[in-house]
């Protein structure tokens, strides 16, 4: 079947999609967006976390057909989403490559992860970025308990949680300063 879905602001079309296929497979294998990672395929690890119509979900548990006509934001679209949220002029979808312009820089959450050294092997990072971004959009000044709760569905097998918590605190603190 064919699936039409808006991904990171651009209308995309995937053909020959198997009816039992997940949104994650479509993103990675059919639309060339490998940022969302495929690991447990059962919603345990959170490495495929994306936004579906604004809601945080595991892309491995959404059937591709359920995404028809909906809006998806993946880690590849975080910088643009952050720019749009800040009211800045995000690059127009048509003018940029599928995975965002190379020089477009990082979203504040991505920048904080880099600066805090919150990336080890990097496999869990995309899912954690999307989840952390969602938290900070809802709760600008989260407590440690808020952060732990918000990231409880994302596993880091390198066990780099302390730096990940540092990164979220850093992103929140920086956002607070600019207000």
């Amino acid at each position: 079947m064919r699936v039409n879905v808006t991904v990171n602001g651009r209308l995309r079309e995937a053909d020959d999609v198997w009816e039992g296929e997940s949104l994650l497979y479509v993103l990675r294998e059919r639309l060339g967006l490998p940022g969302s990672k495929n690991a447990c395929e059962q919603g345990e690890c959170g490495s495929c976390t994306v936004r579906l119509d604004g809601e945080l979900v595991c892309a491995c548990l959404v059937a591709a057909g359920q995404a028809e006509g909906r809006e998806v934001v993946t880690v590849e679209g975080l910088a643009e989403l952050a720019a749009r949220r800040a009211g800045g002029s995000a690059p127009a979808g048509e003018e940029r490559g599928e995975e965002g312009p190379p020089g477009a820089g990082l979203s504040p959450v991505q920048r904080a992860f880099v600066d805090a050294g919150a990336v080890q092997c990097g496999f869990c990072t995309p899912g954690l970025l999307v989840a952390a971004d969602d938290l900070l959009a809802r709760v600008p000044d989260p407590s440690d308990a808020d952060i732990r709760e918000a990231l409880s569905g994302n596993l880091c097998r390198c066990t780099g949680y302390e730096k990940i918590l540092d990164a979220v605190r850093l992103a929140a603190a920086r956002a607070g300063e600019t207000v």
């Binding site: 198997w18 039992g20 395929e41």
Partner: protein, 295 residues
């Protein structure tokens, strides 16, 4: 495989009547796992995401009519008042990602003995609204679970909603697992005080082939509370009474040994949770009683 995408509830019922083998798909937190792991290859997937009615709820005089697909996140945000036990249970489901998609309708459809919402539904009192092109019937939740991952739905029926009694007293929920998030219950316990009916109701999860009420424990406690005048006095419950309630609750279990825990552990843990949830709920009841009487 065919992907059926009804736009309305009537279309969904018609599709289910035409293809009774169709597997309903809402949040996907159970069904997609089975498909991803090749454990299941249904002939038809029946996507219910486009049916807005299933995501709505109405609060009436006696019940909350909860649409089958209302995600746990919404229950936590909006229904803590009328459905405190279910809201507590919702908090323990998976992770934020799972709670944004998973729903009570899905829990009932899957009918796993470990489903988190079952003990809360049993304790509060609820009916499952099952519908087909032939009509609607209300199934009391304790009769809905018929076996391990089996329920009372006919092949052409879909779950439209769950009618859950609004709380008229304190409710509690407890669950045993290895961590706070992403845990399938080793076992779970729900308890609701119903001061208007002067009754206590319970629900046990993951300690028998189906979720079930601890009937003997409920009957014992109802009689003991009435006899001792506890509902009126709001007195502290004697430890011996709580202990016997716990023993009877543990006795209602019919657990198995599996990777998550042994039968012996489950039985013990259900007793502990029964005693604790009773203590917490009774403390809240006493608090409210004192406030009412002083005012």
């Amino acid at each position: 495989m065919d992907f059926l995408r009804p736009g309305t509830w009537e279309e969904a019922l018609a599709a289910k009547a035409e293809h009774p083998s169709a597997v309903p798909l809402a949040g996907g937190t159970d069904v997609m796992v089975e498909i991803n792991f090749d454990h299941r290859r249904p002939e038809y997937l029946l996507d219910l995401n486009r049916i807005g009615d299933l995501y709505e709820w109405e609060t009436g005089e006696r019940d909350v009519r909860l649409g089958a697909s209302v995600p746990y996140t919404r229950i936590m945000e909006h229904l803590r008042g009328p459905l405190p036990g279910l809201a507590l249970a919702a908090h323990t489901v998976g992770s934020p990602q799972i709670r944004n998609r998973g729903s009570v309708g899905g829990n009932l459809g899957a009918a796993s003995p470990a489903g988190d919402s079952h003990p809360a539904l049993l304790a509060a009192g609820a009916e499952v609204e099952a519908e087909s092109v032939r009509g609607t019937r209300l199934i009391p939740v304790e009769r809905f679970y018929t076996g391990v991952k089996r329920n009372a739905l006919e092949p052409d029926e879909l779950i439209r909603a769950v009618r859950i009694r609004k709380a008229d007293g304190p409710q509690q929920f407890a669950k045993v697992g290895t961590r706070n998030a992403m845990v399938i219950a080793v076992c779970a316990f729900g308890l609701a005080l119903h001061p208007e009916a002067r009754a206590v109701r319970t629900g046990i999860g993951s300690a028998a082939p189906t979720p079930l009420r601890a009937r003997a424990a409920e009957e014992f406690l109802d009689a003991a509370l009435a006899e001792g005048g506890f509902w009126d006095s709001g007195r502290d419950l004697p430890p011996s009474l709580a202990r016997q309630f716990a023993e009877l609750a543990a006795g209602a279990c019919n657990p198995i040994d599996d990777v998550r825990g042994s039968a012996r552990y489950r039985r013990h843990a259900v007793g502990v949770m029964a005693r604790r949830t009773l203590g917490w709920a009774w403390d809240t009841y006493r608090g409210s009683e004192r406030t009412t009487r002083c005012a």
